[in-house]
Amino acid sequence: MKYWLDIKAQLKSNIEISIQLLLLLLGIYVMIMSDNERIWKVPLLFVGAFIWFFYRGKTKHPIALIVFSTLLIIDLCYLYFRVANHHFMLLFMVLPVIGYSYHQRIEILSKNMQFLLVIVIMTSVIQKLLSSQFMSGDFYYYMMNRGGMFSRFINFFPENLDVIKENKINIIALNDTNPNDLKTIVLKDIFKNLGFMSLVFAWVTVIVESIVAISILWKPRSTWVHILFTFMIIGILCTRLETGFMALLAICGLILCNNSFLRLVYVLIVLGCITLIVTKIGFH
């Protein structure tokens, strides 16, 4: 009982733990990206570490966050079209947190995270609606037949693994031919009626994401909205280990959530994702 009370007490300061989790994730991400543009990063990291080590308790400035966000901006300047979408999301989350350390107004930070979530999820819906490959179910069909989705669960069905392996071999063999010959292959389905299932799954994805985005815009602190949002995050993690992005979504959720149990769920999602990123099981 005491352990649960300790956890509950800790979860009361959700803004503080959100910032700590964001800082942890940011540190790991910066380390993963550190081998790009070293000429700028080496002096910046050294000076940043020096200032943080000697002045962190004596200044009001969030030194670590400022150094890390500068590193993100450097990567963005040089690798704008190469960095992943969560690089942008990470920067858009860090900037309001830096602002918060000066103004200390929770309603401003919450508004930033609320709108950021709505914009990101709604844009993702628009992108899906614009993609004929997605809306026809062709994308999910390809991903499942190639083992790119539900890969952790497919391991329980060895016969499906054989089909996936055969599809991969056929695709590689096709890629060795001249594409101007316009040769084709026929993928084998891992399940019966996979084409129809993929189409349904594509529409369900779009509908769920739309509902989540509208709900967050309408009632950002409602318990039901956060139940739906956590289900969406866990659902996405079940289909693929997009751990970096999901950890960021969960941190945004944690900032907006009032319910202790759901706050715990968000923290567990972030910690789980961080563990998978560090061990390179998930994607950063």
Binding site: L116, S131, F134, G137, F139, P179, I185, E242, F245
Partner: protein, 135 residues
């Protein structure tokens, strides 16, 4: 800055920045063939990953070229992300410089699949034919 405008800026400044990045992303996807997976437009998992796009150079192996030269590896990566005329020309010039060929053709193909009949094939996205004399 007056207090009201300051609060407005703090509340909506970053979300607006996110919207601007998204607008830039869509501009590049429509005009420069940028892949939806990149450029801050949150279009990942809406289509087959650009990694599976195929760079085809008649008489040459693109994999061997990438293994042999770091610059080519980077140029080909950019080409797969954004197969526009500029990136194709850059790749063609680089290969002409390195291989000392008189001319080169580069094509970029992307995979497509039909979930109704399972047919998987490749479609041409963009191509270039460049002679050394045109450099």
């Amino acid at each position: 800055m007056p207090n009201k405008s300051k609060t407005f800026f703090l509340k909506y400044g970053v979300p607006w920045l996110a919207v601007i990045v998204i607008v830039i992303h869509f501009f590049f996807t429509k005009t420069q063939n940028l892949n939806p997976w990149k450029g801050g437009g949150y279009g990942m998992y809406t289509g087959i990953h650009f990694y599976y796009n195929q760079i085809y150079i008649p008489g040459m192996s693109s994999d061997s070229l990438m293994e042999a030269n770091f610059d080519i590896k980077n140029t080909f990566r950019d080409l797969k992300i954004m197969p526009n005329d500029k990136n194709l020309k850059e790749a063609a010039e680089l290969i002409l410089k390195i291989t000392e060929k008189d001319s080169i053709q580069i094509q970029i193909w992307k995979p497509t699949v039909n979930s109704k009949n399972g047919i998987y094939t490749r479609v041409l996205v963009n191509e270039i034919y460049l002679k050394k004399s045109e450099l």
